[in-house]
């Protein structure tokens, strides 16, 4: 369990644009160092425009200009050998894509080709990486669909004939049919209802355990992370601000932003006033000096406005980038269960 399948070191990826002679640089991923262990679910949380999508684009080796990797490395340790996707050639990436490194995309409606039957899409998508065709391929796909609790008739259907939950299961099926070692899931349940959402999350978790693969799970909904992830990393304005085991992140957060995210979740059975975080995420083309969270932070002091806090280990396996992490109190939501734990 201790060896890492993914090691990201000092990764910087910027959008560089040059319109009418005016250069603009958006620092979407700014110095992120993290790793993902074999067989774990790593949750990434962050607001929209926090750079989380840019970060997973880099992880998925789907970088297109104007996004460029400035420095750092993204090393995978696959069974076939290590690869640094920040430097690998397109052919090398092609060799690992889908078979080892796979991606469940957001918005199942726009992912599937609306004028092609699901079976054809499976064929287009997976027959080459699997190296199978005809009967053997069909058997493989049907076996996989059964595992996803989808009836075989799905292969004859068009995307519009399926419900939202089924479509999402089909996209999960596409992403996992080659039994990849590493799966990136980008907001796979955001548009789904509560009942279906739980089903789909359960499915992702089951498939992950069965194949013993690693999953990077991206969503802004902390209650999803609470139930799916083994470890959670919080991204704010292009930086990793806190990372730790899920339970610790919820009950003893060490960054004010995490504490706020956890506290703002409403719960059934609790009608106390919830605080809302004012302000908006910073513009990444012109981020604030020092700690990027300081304009919205209730704990900010002078030091926060000038110096960038490093990501430091504050407890075993738990890192936080805050000058005042010792003063971070779990807010209203976490108060009761934290007491139980002690």
């Amino acid at each position: 369990m201790t060896d890492n399948i993914l090691t990201v070191e000092g990764l910087k990826a910027y959008y560089q644009m040059n319109y009418f002679g005016v250069e603009r640089e958006v620092r979407a991923v700014d110095d992120i160092t993290m790793n993902v262990r074999k067989g774990e679910v790593y949750g990434i949380a962050g607001e929209s425009s926090s750079g989380k999508t840019s970060f997973i684009k880099v992880l998925a080796a789907a970088i297109r200009p104007p996004l460029r990797i400035m420095s750092g490395s993204v090393k995978y340790d696959f069974k076939t050998g290590p690869i640094d996707v920040a430097r690998a050639s397109p052919a090398e990436i092609e060799a690992v894509r889908w078979r080892h490194l796979s991606y469940i995309m957001q918005g199942s409606m726009s992912v599937l080709n609306p004028v092609r039957r699901i079976g054809k899409t499976f064929h287009d998508f997976a027959s080459r990486p699997l190296g199978l065709s005809g009967k053997a391929f069909e058997e493989r796909v049907l076996g996989h669909l059964a595992r996803l609790k989808l009836p075989p008739e799905v292969l004859r259907a068009y995307p519009h004939e399926l419900s939202g939950g089924m479509r999402q299961r089909v996209t999960i099926g596409l992403a996992t049919v080659c039994h990849p070692e590493f799966v990136i899931a980008d907001e796979p349940t955001t548009a789904l209802d509560v009942v279906v959402q739980k089903e789909v999350l359960n499915l992702i978790r089951d498939i992950q355990k069965e194949m013993n693969s690693s999953v990077v799970f991206v969503t802004h909904d902390m209650s999803v992370h609470a139930n799916v992830a083994d470890r959670v990393g919080i991204i704010y304005a292009g930086r990793l601000v806190e990372e730790g085991p899920t339970r610790q992140m919820f009950f003893t957060p060490r960054h004010p932003y995490t504490a706020h995210l956890v506290a703002s979740l409403p719960r059934i059975g609790d009608t106390r006033q919830r605080p809302a975080l004012e302000g908006r995420p910073p513009n990444l083309a012109d981020p604030p000096q020092g700690c990027r969270f300081h304009p919205r932070c209730p704990l900010a002091v002078d030091k926060c406005r000038k110096e960038v806090p490093p990501l430091e280990t504050v407890a075993p396996d738990h890192r936080s980038a805050c000058w005042r992490w010792q003063d971070v109190e779990p807010l209203v939501n976490a108060a009761a269960p934290a007491g139980e734990m002690a």
């Binding site: 999350l201 609470a226 995210l261 409403p266 059934i268 919830r274 975080l277």
Partner: protein, 305 residues
């Protein structure tokens, strides 16, 4: 007691397909409830996609005619026809839509949308009056015209934009807002600011809100009363706290059990009891009726069950 909104035996049926292979979908079946004019409240409609909650909202807004039954607003039938009457009605019942990024034209400044609403409903072209109305509405949602003026939708965060959408709806001072999933496209961290805003609209300005959602946690947090809909039928109705603390209908129980809890974060408990799912789905479409209970709620019970 005068009523603000009366929904009486409302049903909506859509027919799909042509001469051959005609299919009938009952989107809403026999809905009944009313909002009082004296006591502003947040009335929540909960249901999954396809439960008919949006169809019901569209009928209340007068965008869709009910197949059966009638909808009365202040004792007047909601009618799609007649321009003057329609405008008058629109000034009283205003919508807030799901996705603020789609509600605003990305190529026009935000104030344009607010301005045209003000011009239409205040029946004036006087710049000063319009500006004042816009500023007042924006103040109500915690923004100001000074902040918003000259900005395009992409320059604002989802939460701010949704506030602008709510401000736009408040320009004619409507007594009723219909908010169709106003927070589902907004980041979880900004969600509470919108929900708190709806709450303060009710408490401070006396605006009634019909809040449509599938998120039980926020519904519990803000609403006074709620109805839970399954495939077009109301299955449980009553005081929000009473119903959600102890749901009685199997479908309501399934919904509550599906809410992701953070109490045992990291434990990875995700499995839903399959018996619960089958119990909740077996009853769909069977004949039944709403029965009042002692604690003020009504629950759908089925014949022979």
């Amino acid at each position: 007691m005068s009523s603000l909104l009366d929904i009486r035996n409302v049903s909506k049926r859509f027919t799909m397909g042509g001469l051959f292979g005609r299919k009938v979908v009952d989107a809403v079946v026999d809905a009944n409830f009313s909002l009082s004019a004296e006591k502003p409240e947040i009335f929540t409609i909960i249901g999954e996609s396809g439960s008919g909650k949006t169809t019901l909202a569209r009928m209340i807004l007068g965008l869709e005619d009910p197949t059966e039954g009638e909808i009365l607003f202040r004792g007047q039938k909601v009618d799609r026809h007649g321009r003057a009457k329609r405008l008058d009605f629109m000034a009283n019942v205003q919508p807030v839509f799901q996705n603020p990024f789609e509600a605003f034209n990305p190529l026009k400044k935000i104030e344009r949308y607010l301005e045209s609403t003000a011009r239409r409903f205040l029946h004036t072209t006087d710049k000063a009056v319009i500006d004042k109305a816009m500023d007042e509405a924006l103040q109500k949602v915690g923004l100001s015209l000074k902040e918003v003026r000259g900005r395009f939708p992409h320059e604002m965060s989802g939460g701010q934009l949704q506030r602008c959408a709510i401000a736009r709806a408040l320009i004619p001072n409507p007594p009723l807002l219909i908010a169709d999933e106003p927070v589902s496209m907004v980041d979880a961290s900004l969600r509470m600011s919108i929900v708190n805003l709806l709450k303060s609209l009710r408490d401070d300005l006396g605006v009634s809100v019909i809040y449509i959602t599938h998120d039980l946690a926020t519904a519990y947090y803000i609403s006074n009363r709620l109805i839970i809909m399954q495939r077009g039928r109301i299955v449980e109705m009553g005081d929000a706290r009473t119903v959600l603390d102890n749901p009685e209908h199997p479908y309501s129980r399934l919904l509550k059990a599906s809410v992701l809890s953070t109490d045992d974060a990291g434990a990875g408990k995700l499995a839903t009891d399959p018996a619960m799912v089958s119990l909740a789905t077996d009853m769909v479409g069977k004949p039944g009726r709403l029965v009042d209970r002692a604690d003020g709620r009504s629950v759908r019970v089925y014949e022979g069950a």
